[in-house]
């Protein structure tokens, strides 16, 4: 009865001790689990484009020289993958220079990107990255 009432029959000087070993084991298991499964995520950029409807046309008040048209192609006859700006094959570095120069005057210029079906997606992303570098945000992507 005395035991049920709160253990009054404990000998004096004997303090109750909590067994810590299993808890420490579990806590270490958890810690090891978290350390092993921890995987840092890559930082992702988001390149926004607009995708006009196939039949959409530029607004009538927009002058044609305010549009910058770039083609992303992959064509054997043209020597593989690349970019065409105003009818001329250009490298990504040259596009970068042109965009930097252009963005000094007008960052609101509309960039029209035309991609051929067999061009790799990487080239479109590279082009969008160059546009982002120059601060050009008004980008429309068409498919050919």
């Amino acid at each position: 009865m005395a035991r049920l009432m709160g253990g009054k029959d404990r000998r004096k000087g004997e303090s109750p001790s909590l067994e810590m070993t299993p808890m420490i084991d579990v806590v270490f298991q958890l810690l090891i689990f978290f350390i092993v499964t921890l995987k840092q995520q890559d930082i992702l950029a988001r390149l926004e484009v607009s995708r006009p409807a196939p039949d959409s046309r530029p607004p009538p008040d927009k002058r044609i020289d305010e549009l910058l048209e770039i083609m992303v192609y992959n064509h054997k006859r043209l020597g593989g993958e690349g970019f065409v700006l105003r009818g001329r094959q250009v490298s990504l570095g040259e596009l970068d220079r042109q965009f930097q120069r252009l963005s000094q005057y007008d960052k609101g210029v509309s960039v029209i990107v035309k991609c051929t079906g067999d061009s790799p997606h990487a080239n479109l992303v590279k082009l969008l990255d160059v546009c982002a570098k120059s601060g050009l945000r008004n980008i429309a992507v068409f498919s050919m």
């Binding site: 958890l30 950029a45 390149l47 006009p52 991609c115 997606h121 990487a122 992303v125 990255d129 992507v141």
Partner: protein, 138 residues
């Protein structure tokens, strides 16, 4: 030879260590984010200059296109018709301006990306984002 009494073993104070371990566990539990299940086979192109959203929108729909042109969402392969139905129902709930992010493998042909973009424009969603790696962590 020992001056210690037989019944008094050396005792290490475990409290600071347990405190530290608990602090570490709390750190890991708090910093772990519930990640969307993504297709790990998709390798993204780099974009050092692309903008990083400061506060990612939880309503963003991530559409994945692997190097063979297979479309999936959260690791679940989808047909074009299924994707269209899914996007349409989401558009009806969230409106036309909800963000769509395309995770396209860098080797994917544009025609496969195009089919996803065409589905988006088919249901009047004009703004599309492409995912690219700004900074690689692993």
């Amino acid at each position: 030879m020992s001056k210690r009494r037989d019944d008094s073993g050396t005792q290490m104070d475990m409290t600071p260590m347990i405190d530290c371990v608990f602090q570490l566990i709390i750190f890991f539990v708090v910093t772990i984010t519930m990640q969307q299940k993504l297709n790990e086979d998709i390798k993204l192109e780099f974009s050092k200059n692309g903008p990083v959203p400061t506060r990612p929108d939880q309503t963003t729909t991530v559409i994945e296109v692997d190097r063979n042109g297979w479309i999936s969402m959260q690791g679940v392969p989808l047909s074009k018709a299924a994707l269209q139905d899914l996007l349409k129902s989401k558009r009806d709930r969230l409106g036309q301006t909800y963000p769509i992010l395309i995770r396209g493998d860098y080797r994917t042909k544009h025609q496969d990306i195009r089919s996803v973009m065409d589905i988006c424009t088919g249901i009047d969603i004009w703004k599309i984002e492409f995912a690219a790696i700004k900074e690689k962590k692993n």
